[in-house]
Symmetry: C2
Subunit: 334 residues, 2 copies
Amino acid sequence: MMSVTIKDIAKAANVSYATVSRALSGHSEISDKTKKKIRKLAKEMGYTPNAIAKGLVTKNTKTLGFIVPDITNPFFPEVAQGVEDCANRNGYQVFLCNTSWKLEKEKQYLKALYGKRVDGIVVSPTSNDITHLVEADRNKVPVVFAAYRPAIADCNFVATDDYKSAEIAAEYLLKLGHRKIAYIGGQQESCTNKYRLKGYTDVLKKHDISLSPSYIKHGAFRQQSGYQLTKELLIANDVPTAILAGNDIIALGVIQAIEEFGLDVPNNISVVGFDDISFASLDKVQLTTVFQPKYTTGELCVEVLLQKIKDGDQNPTHKMLEPELVIRRTCKGI
Amino acid sequence: MMSVTIKDIAKAANVSYATVSRALSGHSEISDKTKKKIRKLAKEMGYTPNAIAKGLVTKNTKTLGFIVPDITNPFFPEVAQGVEDCANRNGYQVFLCNTSWKLEKEKQYLKALYGKRVDGIVVSPTSNDITHLVEADRNKVPVVFAAYRPAIADCNFVATDDYKSAEIAAEYLLKLGHRKIAYIGGQQESCTNKYRLKGYTDVLKKHDISLSPSYIKHGAFRQQSGYQLTKELLIANDVPTAILAGNDIIALGVIQAIEEFGLDVPNNISVVGFDDISFASLDKVQLTTVFQPKYTTGELCVEVLLQKIKDGDQNPTHKMLEPELVIRRTCKGI
DNA sequence: TTGTAGGCGTTATCAT
DNA sequence: ATGATAACGCCTACAA
């Protein structure tokens, strides 16, 4: 499996390999005749340019990295789609890396991605510990956070306003007459979770509703976690009339638990999620949720990244997207 | 953003850069003292080895490519998870590429992946035109097909027996008393589809059931397609009592269409899918389907690939996995 | 144990 | 228009 190089072609064409390089790249001036001849030859010989050798000298690889915490949550594939499409449109490719919510893997991937000298990195961080990412952005390669709003200011990010999302959801539940609203979150430390939690608590406070600590539970952004925590919640004394789930897949677990418990959604308990993953709109599911522009998030991240790459601009770019309440059939007034 | 190289470290440590290389790689023998000193220095200076330079000389990049047709279908993320985990365990990383069912993109990615000199490629092909993939396998880089059984023999693949899967599903429906069974497939040309279709038709033939051509429809492996085709099917005169869907997401669309049409699943029409994606087991969905070992498929693909990479074995490896009927609540006897 | 030097496949800068 | 040749950052004989 010896691959053919520019030198092989040069030999076959009886020219210097510099000429071959020129013929193939098309940058420098070269006679049309030899250009055609060489290109034809290259094709015949099955030549594929060695991008890594090229990258070594040009210092750019035309590839981006996208680090996600959970490829299994439909939220991320949709963002990834946006990342990829936008990258492709601009002649870039993307390295999709999945951390399975493991910080260690995130660090490994970051290192590996930089080792491969990707031109930029989009990342939905796994935890709130983002020092390695910030450090990389400052010294090595442009980084933009996707669907995540870092606590520190001088980072690039494009995110949907999580605080506002939670406000909208909580206000909606309140308007429906609910007063006993529980919150089943994902990872407690996660930024997304913090903003959503705060949006929720602030709204309740504003309406003078006391927060029962037993109504706030944290686990992971996973269906299983939502299921488990809801079971615990229901077994305890005071059953809420509504549950705000940390995201849609948690919501799916929440609903599962409620129904297994013998209660009905929405007749006994209303449920609202976040994200609006495609399965939320299934006839069978019809989950009321707060939409997040996933595809757009991915696209914008890449746009920001390419901008940074192009002009080396170090000033942080922030893009806040608007959430949107999608009312379906998992909520009911009381 | 000038990155620090082995030479910078050499200068700082006042040694030759070969020494630094040795200290860092750990292969050659070197005094413990200088090794420690240099490693410490490297860390302090924020050195990240340039994998592309390294790859240029070592001829291997410790990275694999995984080309999928639709990252948005939960089937593929699950396979990807297996691919990734197995790759990681063995010190490899994976480049996940999404073609959105576009042959052109598949070709581009293949070229790009090879350009980056990945050590091997796992691919779930987008269409039945796999000549470019086969050619690559023969001349450039080991390729193994995932969840796909090529028509030609000398390719590597790991797949679930699609023919058998369809047999199982059709037999089940038959046992339930169904005689009017429609098939709503994905891309007609796709190999997967062909095997499933054949399994279905063979079983019906075996039981002397005549096949109405209007009962066989093809589109894409997408929810929307299943929805659309089912609408067409139901509008036509002779409504079937059961529908075999090309895969689970098609099945979801099928169910949606049936219910919108005012009919009930499973009381009026039974539905069975393929794959057993995670959402199929949702309480609200409870889709009867034929399970495919997705994660295992991914793992095995990588194992096969690594084997090929290690010993350069050119003999094709075939692995057939066993499907399994998962009975839930979308089928009913008549 | 350490240093020197050649080479990996390109691009780019000189000459010619 | 084309040919030498020096990088790019790293590895690895071969020497010392």
